[in-house]
Amino acid sequence: MGKFFREAFKGRMEVQEIIKQCYAIGNKSLVLISLTGFITGMVFTKQSRPSLAEFGATSWLPSLVSIAVIRALAALVTALISAGKVGSSIGAELGSMRVTEQIDAMEVSAINPFKYLVVTRVVAATITIPVLMSYCGMVGLMGAYLNVALNEGTSLQTFIQKAFEQITFLDIGTSLVKGIAYGFTIGIVGCYQGYNAKKGTEGVGRAANSSVVISMFLIFIEEVIIVQISNYFRV
């Protein structure tokens, strides 16, 4: 990790390679995030309706759902999907490059593999995952809207207005911080596991697997910490 910051700010950035990695990350998880985000928004709305209906408060549905999606669901859905798809593929990719000596080959041809492979992927994940998270939130709200529109006949305009009534700058900021933290975690854990993979084919599998497990574990811890800090500012 210390090495990451030392190498990251040394010399010129591998901009082209970072863009390529951003694209790869987006490409890998976009479909799954769209689907899961949409369904999460829709199902959450559907499940919340009965409890609100008891108090005759179904008109609160949009704000309730949007708070849930923006404060918690979008971040978690994106983080878990990315940890699974992006984390494991970074771990496996770098792991197989380590095992087949491609990383050594870069080193002996006087190329800095850490900068070229690790820094680019960590930066790309840190940039891309917050973007995916915002996208997931949007898709989730679309799912919620669809459900509300079908049941309550709410117009899109009313829905948007109500949805964002309760959303504060703090909520958006917290989500963004989460996105950055989770993206960085997924990137650095995947890279660490892959870059330090043990020889042999099982080394690759282990790198991929532990990338997912460790980054999910860290994300849960970070979630708790970030929410605590954010709640501290709320009161």
Binding site: E101, Q102, D104, S109, A110, I111
Partner: protein, 252 residues
Amino acid sequence: MKETNQEPIIHIKDLYKSFGDLDVLRGASLDVFRGENVVVLGRSGTGKSVLIKILVGLLTQDRGTAQVLGKEVATLTEKELRDLRLKIGFSFQNSALYDSMTVRENLEFPLVRNIANLTRGQIDKEVETVLDAVGLLQTINQVPSELSGGQRKRIGIARTLILRPEIMLYDEPTAGLDPITCLEINELINEVKEKYKTTSIIITHDLTCAKVTGDRIAMLLDGSFVRQGSFEEVFDTSEERIKSFFDYNFIQ
């Protein structure tokens, strides 16, 4: 330091390296002089790869001297090590081609990352020159997974040649190849020596390869060099350990 013909390009003295309880190198000493092809022979697991990895700073010895072009590899700064590595071509046992890149990109990669401001035309010309040198111009747009083992070895060698190394280190260049491909690779090694005026260490346990490519043979046994000399000199011995190696290879 002035380099004369007598000064070794590679100077290894009393080299020790162990991994945990496993003593791999135990006092290995070897000198390689300019323009020579030295073959390092030894059974699997005797530390042949470890030896040349120490020479390029991928591993560091526990004890002893490993000098390349007059510089002690283990004590170099990052920048000095980089400069030294530019002068050394390392052909990996499994070729280590970048499997996400085409052959062209594999060859370009070390070039564009080490030499600034090359034009597209210059890059293409260099790539084609070295590909032609290994006889594989037609594979330029293929990806490594489409190549045969022998082709991969050649591309791996071409990738190191593109930086015009003074020294070539070949790690088992013929391992896992059929006999005819082996002969072709052996020829290639000799051609590289002629054309690019390289000094080489060739690691192998293949006696034909040793005989054809080696100006001198050094036999690595139990972590140190037990015999050095011409092919005949090394194997003209009554020592059981060496004879068994020789016999075993010809029975195969």
